[in-house]
């Protein structure tokens, strides 16, 4: 049918479809309807108290558990401000219109709710919602009946009802699990235990006050004066794990207060953060990720905030400017805690560093002030074992380090033999930390050491020795030339090492390309070839023979060129294997042939 009128037509929205969409995609669990119910009630009471600050608000929940005759009903009642007939139409039946509601509640900041989905989320567990409400402003009460199929009715009630709102939810067949007393009681406590007005829960048999005793006092005084054991105990209860210590958190922005607990095991820096957050005392989520700065991955926290925005699902905090400011302020709290520990409780600090080395290193890089405090306690792997920087400083004037574990391994043995302390900075943050030293402490000198630098420091042969080794070296050069490896001979400790294979980052890259070329398909092999041809080939792999090694001395003394060739081949292969360098097909072939030749030679 063609619409010949000039009127705009309205979209028709299928309520069932919307509810399904919301429950499956927006909310993480159907349980959120509990939160929406509590939120409406609390907001209503808060609104009434605006006009009458002495007013005593209360909320009561009554459950009729499902039985064979009865499908189960949940009734939530508050003595809050109530709705007029006009407001009922506006608020209960319009989805997504938050501005009107805002106007109604005057200052949005005092209220938990913001989005116009609210009550309709109850359709996740029921087919019909009945609301009976009487506004302060209205002489009569109103009944609203909303149905899952998207229809609703409103009628005036004649009988006398006191100001407030009563909501009836009838359990939908299949949703019984959400209408069981133990489950519901736990859920109401879970969401509402910190809420400011008394909330009673009754299941026909007993009646309890769910927020009778707040499990924790989030006020500044409550946290600062709180008993250490009790605070740790609370953390254990919330997260079901033991913590080393805790840090009080406060932020003026967002009006945030809470506790950060220090995790007792090593954390992955990229792991998901799971903080528990209450928003205006209502439970928001157990998995808020963006509350603390990135570097604070060694903490789990519980906080309440009074002035931050939730996302539409009300399960995360909006990632806005305000939240970044909160992150910064909470970050300051954590930093001042660490500074205090560095000054007055070094034992605790060392315990934290031992477990959270990575986090502490990351932090030191971020803040110079912490860098200065922590540096002496930070552990590094060195050629003399794991040492703290404080210990390293005592052993050496110039801090020498390698930027990769590969290079470290190449020179570890030799430097250990000479009792030289070399740092392995191949692990994360270590290079950055060491390279920052001269910037922070002007009297500390650092030096990046490569295996080739190391070999440069080996003792040279004298003229006579060089003369003796001349033929040997010449042969070795010829043997290793096809493998892109240069040859040297020097004297070094320990003498039981016949030769040292050394390769720096650039030469390693070239070796990597060469090896990959051999396995790659034709297209990629030629592309790799073209790229590598243009990388400066000044850096080559190097095999440095040890003149002090008895085997090498004997090889130098032998007349058999054939034996020298085979030996050099095998020493080359052996030193590759020692250094975990996988053999390429050509080297594999060399290994096989030289072993066989050696046997043959011996026979």
């Amino acid at each position: 049918m063609v619409n010949n009128n000039e009127f705009d037509l309205r979209f028709k929205v299928n309520l069932q479809g919307i509810i399904e969409l919301l429950s499956n995609h927006l909310y993480s669990s159907p349980k959120v309807y509990i939160r929406e119910l509590l939120q409406n009630a609390v907001d209503a009471v808060t609104a009434r108290r605006k006009n009458d600050s002495g007013f005593y608000g209360s909320i009561s929940i009554e459950l009729f558990e499902p039985s064979e005759k009865n499908p189960g009903t949940l009734v939530v009642e508050d003595n809050g401000i109530g709705l007029t007939e006009e407001e009922v139409h506006q608020f209960l039946a319009v989805i997504g219109q938050s501005s009107k509601r805002e106007e109604f509640f005057q200052r949005r900041n005092d209220f938990i709710g913001q989005f116009g989905i609210g009550l309709l989320s109850c359709f996740i567990v029921c087919d019909e919602i009945i609301v009976i409400t009487k506004s302060e402003k209205s002489p009569y009460a109103v009944e609203w009946v909303g149905k899952y199929d998207g229809t609703y009715r409103v009628r005036k009630l004649d009988n006398d009802v006191s100001v407030g709102t009563k909501i009836y939810l009838r359990c939908r067949p299949g949703s019984e699990e959400y209408f069981q007393a133990p489950t519901l009681k736990d859920l109401f406590i879970h969401y509402g235990c910190f809420l400011p007005y008394p909330i009673y829960f009754s299941d026909g048999k007993s009646k309890i006050l769910i927020n009778n005793e707040k499990p924790f006092d989030f006020s500044r005084d409550g946290i600062l004066k709180g008993d250490r054991e009790a605070i740790l105990e609370y953390g254990k209860k919330v997260f079901d794990e033991d913590f080393i210590d805790y840090i009080p958190l406060f932020s003026k922005t967002g009006d945030v207060s809470g506790i950060a607990y220090i995790i007792s095991y090593k954390m992955n820096p990229s792991s998901k953060r799971r903080h528990r957050v209450y928003l205006k005392n209502m439970f928001l989520s157990d998995s808020v990720e963006n509350l603390l700065p990135d570097w604070a991955f060694f903490l789990k926290c519980v906080v309440n905030c009074n002035d931050l925005e939730p996302t539409a699902s009300r399960e995360q905090l909006c990632d806005d400017k305000k939240l970044s400011q909160v992150q910064a302020e909470l970050g300051d709290c954590i930093r001042s805690y660490l500074v205090e520990k560095a000054r007055f409780d070094i034992f605790r600090l060392r315990e934290i560093i031992k477990i959270h080395t990575l986090a502490i290193k990351a932090l030191s890089l971020e803040f110079d002030e912490l860098y200065k405090l922590f540096i002496d306690w930070l552990p590094f792997e060195t050629s003399l074992g794991i040492l703290t920087f404080g210990e390293i400083k005592k052993r050496t004037d110039i801090i020498q380090y390698t930027p990769s574990i590969d290079e470290f391994r190449q020179i570890q043995k030799i430097s250990a033999a000479k009792s030289i302390c070399i740092l392995n900075c191949g692990y994360i943050y270590d290079t950055e930390i060491i390279e920052k030293l001269p910037e922070i402490f002007h009297d500390i000198r650092i030096e990046r050491i490569s295996p080739t630098d190391m070999s440069a420091s080996f003792e040279e042969l004298d003229f006579e020795e060089r003369e003796k080794a001349f033929e040997f070296i010449k042969t070795a050069e010829v043997v290793l030339q096809p493998f892109n490896c240069s040859v040297q001979i020097k004297k070094f400790e320990p003498t039981d090492i016949p030769a040292l294979f050394m390769i720096d980052e650039e030469a390693n890259l070239i070796r990597n390309i060469e090896n990959t070329k051999e396995v790659s398909n034709f297209l990629f092999s030629s592309i790799l070839g073209q790229i590598s041809d243009n990388i400066s080939t000044s850096s080559k792999a190097q095999l440095c023979f040890n003149y002090n090694n008895p085997l090498i001395t004997r090889l130098i003394g032998t007349d058999s060129k054939e034996l020298v060739c085979m030996s050099v081949e095998i020493i080359y292969i052996q030193s590759l294997l020692m250094g975990h360098y996988p053999l390429n097909p050509r080297e594999m072939k060399l290994l096989n042939s030289s072993l066989l030749n050696l046997i043959d030679y011996k026979l």
């Binding site: 090593k266 992955n268 820096p269 990229s270 990575l358 990351a362 930027p403 990769s404 574990i405 590969d406 191949g426 692990y427 994360i428 943050y429 270590d430 290079t431 990046r448 980052e505 390693n508 890259l509 990597n512 390309i513 990959t516 070329k517 396995v519 790659s520 398909n521 297209l523 990629f524 092999s525 030629s526 592309i527 790799l528 073209q530 790229i531 041809d533 243009n534 990388i535 294997l577 975990h580 360098y581 996988p582 053999l583």
Partner: protein, 360 residues
């Protein structure tokens, strides 16, 4: 097996992304290879490709990918080629940035990519997109235009870039053809924060810096710079974007430009990706030329030890520095021109040098 590999891998697992992780992964790959553990070598190299592509070690990514592709082709029963299609598009995009790879090889590479996408029944959208980028960045305007339309008219599927990247790529093309107004309009969903990913808006901010200056959007440009720089200054994968920030600052606040140069020159000096090196060196050339024009003959430039060209090549005066960058930049441009058979890169240089005289 002695558990060494497992231990290393669990260590790697804890590491944040970046160079240290890449080096450890390469170590792990070497161990896996020497233990003849193909499966581990394959998986470890997937992570190497990832680290290489997103943290600025493109050559390492290309090498690891070549190995993976070879294993896939040799052992189709062990590995599935469809796992490589995502990576393939990144790798192709890295390879043409090396001028030593001749045009016919690049064409072959695109053909191979297209073939593999077709065989998997994947949309050719990424193929058209990257080939279009290659063509226009090499100065083949008509062919690029033809592919642009094929690209935007191809359907999206599981191998397509995310929406944010896709829009950003289109913005880039529009900037290339100098349709600035349309480009800004196209970029709106990114600038408003509606579309974002690990690299967007980082790249977009940088791309829009100079066009914003040219179209008089001075405030926007400053915002793009401030926001954009914060997003990229820790990751050398954004070297190309950094070059654009350097050019922008050269125009608006050359003292700050010197700062950026000192901080990030090392990225350019170390990279093997010639195209990125070219961009940064060209921007540096422009910056020093501007400094000279402003009469700043006596300059103290602080560079890290490993990349201190001033000491290494004894560049005593600003003229020496300018001459050094000019030579390095034109050498690279000549290589690209030789490969492409045109003089497109000369045009790029001329256009950038005009910024020396840009009046705000």
């Amino acid at each position: 097996m002695d558990g060494k590999l497992e231990k290393l891998l669990s260590e790697i697992d804890l590491m944040p992304d970046g160079k240290a992780k890449l080096l450890m992964l390469e170590e792990a790959a070497r161990i896996a290879d020497s233990q003849n553990d193909l499966k581990a070598g394959f998986d470890i190299r997937e992570e190497i490709v990832h680290q290489g592509v997103f943290y600025g070690h493109h050559l390492n990514a290309i090498i690891a990918f070549s190995w993976r592709l070879a294993q896939c082709e040799k052992n189709p029963h062990l590995f599935d080629i469809s796992d490589l299609l995502w990576e393939y598009k990144w790798i192709v995009e890295e390879i043409y940035k090396f001028p030593d790879v001749p045009s016919e090889k690049i064409e072959q590479l695109f053909e191979d990519m297209k073939d593999k996408y077709n065989r998997e029944g994947a949309s050719l959208r990424p193929y058209y997109c990257i080939k279009c980028k290659y063509l226009y960045s090499s100065g083949f305007k008509e062919r690029a235009e033809e592919l642009y339309f094929k690209w935007i008219n191809s359907p999206r599927d599981g191998y397509s870039d995310c929406r944010a990247c896709d829009i950003d790529n289109q913005v880039l093309y529009l900037l290339y053809i100098k349709d600035y107004e349309k480009a800004f309009e196209m970029a709106q969903p990114i600038l408003s924060g509606r579309l974002k990913c690990a690299e967007i808006p980082h790249l977009t901010y940088a791309e829009l810096l100079l066009p914003s200056l040219e179209t008089g959007r001075l405030n926007d440009a400053q915002i793009f710079h401030e926001k954009g720089y914060k997003l990229i200054y820790k990751n050398k994968d954004f070297l190309e974007s950094m070059s654009k920030h350097l050019l922008y600052l050269t125009v608006v606040d050359v003292n700050k430009a010197v700062n950026i140069f000192e901080k990030h020159f090392q990225w350019a000096f170390e990279t093997h990706t010639i195209f990125f090196k070219f961009e940064f060196y060209l921007a540096s050339w422009v910056m020093f030329t501007k400094l000279k024009k402003l009469g700043k003959e006596q300059l103290k430039i602080h560079l890290q030890k490993d990349c201190n060209i001033i000491e290494k090549y004894k560049l005593n005066t600003i003229d020496d520095i300018i001459a050094w960058f000019e030579k390095e930049t034109t050498d690279m441009a000549n290589k690209f021109n030789l490969r492409n058979g045109n003089d497109h890169f000369n045009g790029v240089i001329q256009e950038r040098l005009k910024l020396v005289g840009f009046q705000l």
